[in-house]
């Protein structure tokens, strides 16, 4: 019925327009169209570096950078879905590796890339856990180009000193103790958070820190049991941490929360490692204005998220698209992209020298290459699809209103059962 409606109104449109010359099915290999939502800052610069390299390697191939959306990127999804549905896919598009791509995989819009992974030796070049965690029903469907870390505790050394906190907290209990010390001894906000989603982000780090990597991962199996004493305990820690956040957080975003740390208005902030790029941007000095550590209880675990590129079914220029994937998966390509974007490469065999300029990145890279445990970030679309993620977000939002941990746990449990 929907299809008919579409045809009908599309026909009316076409008539009104007296023109409808779209949908060139091209495909002579003289161009490659890549769809991404990197349209600003380090992301765009990183992409540009890749494109430049690609054009050098493939003279005669036009690179069509169909970067559609910055900011919220919402229409990009609609446009992409529309094109996939009407069998007019781009040659490759960007998406978070993991569950976020599930809808597309299930609808049969993506080609499995197992042969590509074998050909390029990516199974060896990337950590086993990473390839394992992006495998869906036995196949991989996208090529990760980078890895961001979600579980980072940022802190302000000066504020901690003033509060008499000497050691960076390594467990959640130590963190809560430190928050209380900051609350008592200083005027600073103990834990800076921002709008609702940054609280989701905080929650995933607390869950990981309290439950441990394996139990955390099990939480995101469909039908998982969240109604356990362990989860209750984790949520209690979460509740205690939330008591030390600033009242006006709802009116701020993550940058504001991070800025509070580097400017000494707050002691701690738990945010992904893109904060390091932001600190650079506002001229804060590592080690002086801000410091970092794995969020409490998560040492040795990399809670990751990754940008990746896909190969849609029916990509008009499949061969050229494969060369694009080759570039973004190569050590060279990843070392071009990541230092600019502010993330570490998905491969663990790249050249550390490329990352030396950034204190944070070189530190992160050595951890990444040191074979850490890997756990997917739920908030950033690795472990769960959009619906589940949104259910969690809603539960957290309602918790921010009523402060009821029991209800929070019940709704989180319900969300897991609904899958």
């Amino acid at each position: 019925m929907r299809a008919r409606c579409t045809q009908l109104s599309a026909a009316v449109l076409a008539a009104a327009l007296l023109a409808s010359g779209c949908g060139d099915d091209g495909g002579d290999g003289t161009e490659v169209e890549v769809f991404s939502w990197w349209t600003g800052g380090g992301e765009e610069a990183g992409l540009d570096a890749l494109i430049e390299r690609f054009e050098q390697d493939h003279p005669g191939v036009g690179f069509v950078n169909a970067a559609v959306a910055g900011g919220s990127g919402t229409n990009a999804q609609a446009v992409l879905e529309g094109r996939l549905q009407s069998q007019d896919p781009p040659d490759s598009f960007q998406g978070h590796a993991g569950a976020e791509l599930q809808d597309y995989i299930e609808a049969g819009y993506l080609q499995p890339l197992d042969d590509f992974f074998d050909e390029q030796g990516l199974q060896e070049a990337m950590p086993d856990q990473l390839t394992e965690q992006i495998t869906y029903e036995g196949s991989v469907y996208s090529v990760p180009v980078n890895v961001h870390r979600s579980n980072v505790l940022w802190s302000n050394p000066g504020v901690l000193e003033e509060a008499g906190v000497e050691e960076t907290p390594e467990t959640l209990d130590e963190l809560i103790g430190a928050l209380e010390a900051v609350e008592e001894e200083t005027d600073a906000v103990p834990m800076a958070v921002g709008a609702q989603w940054t609280v989701d982000h905080l929650l995933e780090s607390v869950l990981l820190g309290s439950l441990g990597t394996d139990a955390y991962k099990e939480l995101w199996e469909p039908g998982a049991d969240w109604d356990t004493p362990e989860v209750t305990e984790a949520l209690e820690s979460f509740g205690q941490i939330m008591e030390h956040t600033q009242e006006e957080s709802a009116a701020e975003d993550w940058q504001e929360a991070s800025r509070r740390v580097s400017e000494g208005e707050a002691a701690f902030n738990i945010m992904g490692d893109w904060a390091a790029g932001y600190f650079d941007e506002i001229g804060a000095t590592a080690g002086e204005d801000y410091d970092w550590a794995p969020s409490p209880g998560t040492d040795g675990t990399y809670m990751w998220l990754s940008d990746s590129f896909t190969l849609p079914e029916g990509a008009p220029n499949e061969d050229v698209a494969r060369s694009w994937l080759e570039l973004v998966s190569s050590a060279e390509g990843q070392d071009l992209f990541n230092p600019v974007k502010g993330s570490v490469p998905a491969r663990d065999d790249t050249d550390p020298a490329a990352y030396e300029d950034s204190a944070y990145l070189s530190d992160a890279l050595s951890e990444w290459q040191d074979d850490p445990e890997l756990a997917g970030s739920f908030w950033h679309g690795v472990t769960v699809g959009n619906r589940w993620k949104n259910d969690v977000d809603t539960a957290v939002g309602l918790y921010l209103g009523d402060g009821d941990l029991g209800t929070l746990q019940a709704s989180l449990h319900e969300a897991a059962q609904a899958e």
Binding site: C5, T74, E81, D103, Y104, E248, N390, G397, L398
Partner: protein, 324 residues
């Protein structure tokens, strides 16, 4: 609603069925006179038929289906989606927020607009300047005014106060420092402030026109009868203002139910300021559930239709009975 309505509109193209040859002839003659008129309106009928009523029909069929992902097909499931919304905790909360917002906004704008109208009614010096000022916010988008109101209503406590809170602190009015829109439950009352600020000038203009529509003889007669100036308003002017008030309530109410821009500009997508329109946006763009998004849209349409349709019917009947 709707596909039928659309057809009813389009049905006017077809000529009424003639019963006798004489009639047929008369119809032809008459059609020759009215047909060009119909043709002239036809482009608009088609545009509105397709892009308003057709789309509403499509939206409704989507709401009655189980197409819960953009990339899948749906089948008819009746009112399931409509019922399911009430079983979750988010939807009732969003509706509650919209109700609080509507009550404060409609009440506030109506009162302030009426009051401003009353103040300016009696040909004051500088009236035009005041009127221009009070109406000015109406010319600006919620997105633009949201920028300044978000800053004004910053919820930071006294020691870090900015915006209005800082002003309160400066004048030693610390007890006024508050959480504004971030307060659970009643935050939506604060959210209504910018909307009141923006729309009460409009309501003022409506009332002003209403006040001045009351014939001076009527007022004079009341004065002769010994009414005080207030009494004249109370007993003569006010009763004449019911239609204006009704229009104002309809306009404010239908804006309020679908409020979106203002919330996005001030709060973004957060549960604390969730309303149906924002929920729909999240559902369409983030959860990517067309059926559920369409269901929320249908509820918005129903909410508006419930009081707009009677109003329209009433207005058109009244107009006709006044004999145009």
């Amino acid at each position: 609603m709707s596909p039928h309505v659309a057809q009813a509109g389009a049905g006017t193209e077809g000529r009424p069925r003639p019963r006798t040859p004489g009639r047929l002839h008369r119809m032809r003659v008459r059609a020759r006179t009215w047909l060009p008129g119909l043709l002239m309106v036809l482009p608009s009928i088609l545009l509105i038929g397709v892009f308003v009523y057709g789309m509403i029909g499509w939206n409704t069929s989507l709401a009655l289906s189980d197409q819960h992902a953009p990339v899948q097909d749906g089948s008819f499931v009746g009112l399931t989606n409509f019922a399911e919304l009430w079983q979750e905790s988010r939807w009732p909360a969003a509706v509650g927020n919209a109700v609080v917002f509507t009550a404060v906004f409609v009440g506030g704008a109506l009162f302030l607009g009426w009051f401003l109208g009353l103040m300016l009614d009696k040909g004051l010096r500088g009236e035009a300047a005041f009127r221009t000022l009070f109406l000015a916010p109406m010319a600006v988008s919620f997105i633009a005014t949201g920028v300044v109101w978000r800053w004004l209503m910053n919820p930071a406590p006294a020691e870090r106060a900015t915006g209005l809170n800082a002003l309160f602190v400066q004048f030693d009015l610390d007890f006024l420092v508050n959480d504004w829109w971030t307060a659970p439950n009643m935050g939506m009352a604060a959210m209504a402030l910018p909307a009141i600020w923006q729309l009460s000038g409009y309501i003022m203009a409506l009332f002003l026109a209403g006040f001045r529509g009351v014939p001076e003889e009527l007022r004079e007669a009341a004065r002769v009868d010994g009414c005080s100036e207030w009494g004249v308003y109370r007993h003569v002017v006010m009763p004449q203002l019911r239609p204006v008030t009704l229009s104002a309530v309809i306009i404010l109410g239908h804006m309020s139910l679908k409020v979106f821009d203002l919330i996005i500009a001030i709060a973004g997508q957060q549960i604390v300021a969730d309303v149906p329109a924002v929920y729909m946006w999240t559902t369409v763009f983030e959860v990517r559930d067309p059926a559920k998004g369409a269901t929320i849209a249908s509820y918005l349409l129903i909410a508006v239709a419930v009081f707009v349709i009677p109003y329209l019917v009433w207005t058109i009947r009244k107009e006709r009975s006044e004999g145009r």
